[in-house]
């Protein structure tokens, strides 16, 4: 099927919008630990906590998708 496609038009507009910026916002360097609920952090291995909890709901923790 041939669909109408605006790829070049959109990419052109994105470039036109961003090129004038004197600099681009940088990716922050952060530790994903800030998103871990604080009770869990108290010196526990997160994977061990996860394994415990998923067993409670009849689940199984896997380390290898295969």
């Amino acid at each position: 099927m041939t669909l109408p496609d605006d790829r070049e038009a959109i990419f052109g507009r994105v470039r036109a919008a961003l090129t004038p910026l004197p600099e681009r916002a940088a990716m922050p360097d952060y530790d994903t630990e800030i998103a871990v609920v604080r009770k869990l952090l108290a010196n526990r291995d997160l994977f061990a906590v996860f394994t415990e909890r998923i067993k409670l709901v009849n689940g199984e923790a896997l380390t290898d998708p295969a």
Partner: protein
Amino acid sequence: MRFQQIDQFAAHLKADTRASVYQSTKLTHEKRTKMLFDQFADPNRMRAIAGEIKQHAIENLDTYLPAVEAKLQANGAHVHWAADGETACQQVLAIMRAHGATKMVKAKTMVSEEIELAEFLGKHGIEALETDLGEFIIQIDHDHPSHIIRPIIHKNRREVAESFEKNGLGAYNDEPEVITRRARQFLRHKYLEAQVGLTGANFVSAESGRIVLVTNEGNSRFCLAANKVHIALIGIEKIVPRDRDLALLLNLLARSGTAQQLTVYTEFISGPKSPTQPDGPEEMHVIFLDNGRTEVLATECRDILRCIRCGACLNVCPVYRQASGHAYRSVYPGPVGAVLSPLLMGDNFAEKADLPKASSLCGACQEVCPVNIPIPDMLLRLRDKAKQEHVSSPGTPPMGAWGLLASQPAAWKAALIGGKLINHIPTKMLPIPALRAWEQKRTLPAWRGGEFRKWLKQHRKEKSS
């Protein structure tokens, strides 16, 4: 006196509706705040970082868009680009026609509201059925959502029961469990009858090409489980740089929007089903939509594109609570909508230039935004934009004369003394609309212009003597 539309809408809003909206938003907001501060050491820092991640993403879309396209294609998905709603609708139609499909089931996506997809498909003989319970109710009622997360926040269960009865879904019954069960029974058949499932995406990872879908009802799963074709309709600003960033964003999203730790279902979809998977769509089409976003990207208000559509700003906004979502006349209401909706109008900005004025600039929205968008600053910018484009603003006192008066001390001091007149003349007789608007609901304090300066002179004399 001329009036602001949104203020008038609020004045005439049914007390019932206002009560529904107020109770729901207040509860969710208070739960959200308690949860975030109980569970995390520094939720405000999380919001700041999430904001930086999204700002980085949108300011580097020229890198990330081609990257996510390449990844999705490598995963076996087709990628399409739509400059506007009309094109996106045509693309969806073409995909459906290519499969001889006449029935679609769709998960909740505000982007599809934006482009009015269901109406378009309906005109072409295609049934596009909403499967999110709230959106389903909106659809059978021919209504519009009034909140980006809770589409029927303005309805109470009696109204829902009435519309179910009107639409042949059983005799009047306003028990939530009964309503839900009836919707579930109706929708089960529909999932199996449809040929195409359409979703949006909460996030798209540029690193892996995975799209993320969050629902409480699992309806997105049903939309995809029985169908051969999956169409994902996604705004170009939904890009997230890396998979690991999703950890932070997902921890903020549900807590911010519905005060849940996570929604019941979170799905990561990287492409159509692989040969070794037992089921799933065999074909996946991703349609990336511009529809005015590149124009927003070119303005100083580009930060609004960080929005992850959580609804927290709507829930805390005192103006939203008084007026409700329909007052904004837009798919995106509330604080985010007051910035995004007029900007997405492009050249027709003037039609919605009143939205940024419907705010006391209290800043509560910025304080709850999981990506730390400086919404009040953008509302102010848009007020400046409206003035520059000579959009009229009912009720706003003209400031030119004020600007002159307040930059000339002699005139100012004279006005301080002269103003004492208003203590003696009824306001009704003064040709100042702002004063009359004030006095509808408030008294005016006594004018005491010049008194402080007199006191200060006297005070200084006393001190030195």
